[in-house]
């Protein structure tokens, strides 16, 4: 088996870890009981992926609980707060579309992530299906849901440019990934009666440095909550 490039395992693992955490914040707050089950399902899949990936890079708990904010390599998209249900769905649509294309490529290659990607891509197919259906329902539901979904898509758009920055140690066809992503998202939004956002998504004033450890303000607070208990008992096992 090929040697696992640690920075790549961290980047992909942190994406999954952080989004799983955000989805876990929905527990007890979902709009309908079926969504309690669905969101937890997605969160659990992502947590499973995160544990597998972080374990390739080192000790999963040390990496999750003892790194400082600047050492996390996730894209900024996944750390964005849940917002309303439309924001959560928009974030999931953007991310799952990316993850499915990326893992699809990795699964069919021979790199060190192929076995993991082959398993994860099946999970992600469900995540994407879930996000797509809710995008259609919200986009083509009521005037209010349409407006909320459009606002969410617009607000998160600036964080999508970073998804296509090549990750060191991940051998993917990044331009093809971006093309596939754009074609898919454009199609879903068209079917939902929503408008593809047009704002900038790269450059000095947009997002795009999560992979270098530059995050957004809410992320520090998220980590403070996530790491507090573990850090309060140094060396303890749980």
């Amino acid at each position: 088996m090929n040697r696992v490039p640690v920075p790549a395992a961290l980047a992909l693992g942190d994406d999954a870890l952080v989004l799983s955490h955000r989805l876990g914040e929905w527990a007890g707050n979902a709009p309908v009981l079926e969504e309690e089950v669905a969101l937890a399902n997605i969160a659990l899949d992502l947590l499973g992926q995160a544990r597998a990936l972080l374990s390739l890079a080192g000790d999963e708990d040390e990496l999750a609980f003892l790194r400082e904010e600047r050492a996390f390599r996730n894209v900024q998209l996944v750390e964005q707060p849940n917002g309303d249900f439309a924001h959560t769905i928009a974030r999931q649509l953007y991310f799952s579309a990316y993850q499915q294309l990326l893992y699809g490529q990795l699964a069919s290659g021979e790199g060190p992530f192929a076995p993991l990607a082959a398993k994860a891509v099946k999970e992600v197919a469900y995540h994407l299906d879930h996000a797509e259906h809710w995008t259609l329902r919200l986009g083509d539901g009521t005037p209010e849901s349409h407006a909320r979904m459009q606002r969410a898509l617009d607000a998160l758009w600036r964080y999508t440019g970073e998804l296509f920055e090549p990750v060191e140690g991940v051998s993917a066809d990044w331009p093809a990934l971006q093309d596939g992503w754009s074609a898919y998202v454009t199609d879903v939004l068209r079917r939902a009666g929503l408008t593809l956002p047009e704002g900038p998504r790269e450059g000095a004033w947009t997002a795009g440095a999560g992979r270098q450890g530059i995050h957004t303000e809410p992320f520090g607070r998220m980590l403070a909550e996530m790491q507090h208990l573990h850090r309060s008992h140094p060396g303890a096992s749980w």
Binding site: L17, P31, E35, L44, D84, R137, D140, A147, A192, W238
Partner: protein, 338 residues
Amino acid sequence: MTTTVPDAQAPEAVFDAALAADERIEPRDWMPDAYRATLVRQIAQHAHSEIIGMQPEANWITRAPSLRRKAILMAKVQDEAGHGLYLYSAAETLGTGREELLDKLHSGRQRYSSIFNYPTLTWADVGAIGWLVDGAAITNQVPLCRCSYGPYARAMIRICKEESFHQRQGYELLLALSRGTEAQHAMAQDAVNRWWWPSLMMFGPPDDASAHSAQSMAWKIKRHSNDELRQRFVDICVPQAESLGLTLPDPDLRWNEQRGHHDFGAIDWDEFHEVLRGNGPCNEQRIERRRRAHEEGAWVREAAAAYAAKHDGHHGTHDKHAEHTEHDNHGKPEEAAA
């Protein structure tokens, strides 16, 4: 049988005969109104307990101290949502829909288990809930797998399997703490001290003060009395506490050779009634949070319903897994408002 006398064909007689023969009553069978009402009340209270019970545990999902524990806790809270779904469906077979029951919960006309009005103050509380609260729930619920109403009994079989898994996980969590650092051990002991008595109250008032017990036993909805079940639970917990290396906060707890059971101290029923009346530590915040989630989700449910109405045959929020995966060819939706 074609030879039965006409009298025995009367619906009431059929119902009584089914009960006497320990057969299951099914949704299409005739049943007395009071039997139906009792079941709806009990199943609804159980369903509400599952979804309110998500809150004290979800309180720790974002702070779980290891990724393994986090996965276990998330899965557990998810199971509770799933139990809520089965139970609301069981109530639906009796003609009462989920929306109506949720309204009653939100407006305080139906109850949930009072145990969830206690706060989860430390990580060890997650373990104490698993070991004691789920343990008490299982003791209560295992007999319900033989309840006379079929859909409820069948839901309980599945629920009890998952609950016993949760109970073992809670025990194992406490064991890790008890054998951990001094601070972890103290955390575990403190949690057990706080959850022990409320767990004993979960079996309900003593038999001589229980409002619904006698009729429910006659209908075979209930199979054992509150005090019997409570005693069974105490007898199970005492040796488990010893293996955990933790103590139970009751100076009167001791083995009684003659009875073949443990004696235990007097339960503070004043506290029980106060919590039941709404004066527990978290009554208001639990129901407030439930209401808020429901109200904040109203626009989502409305959108799903509107979408389903536009696209025939599609459910709004239900049956995601069973849903179509091919896409609609409706072109632009008519309404691109706002």
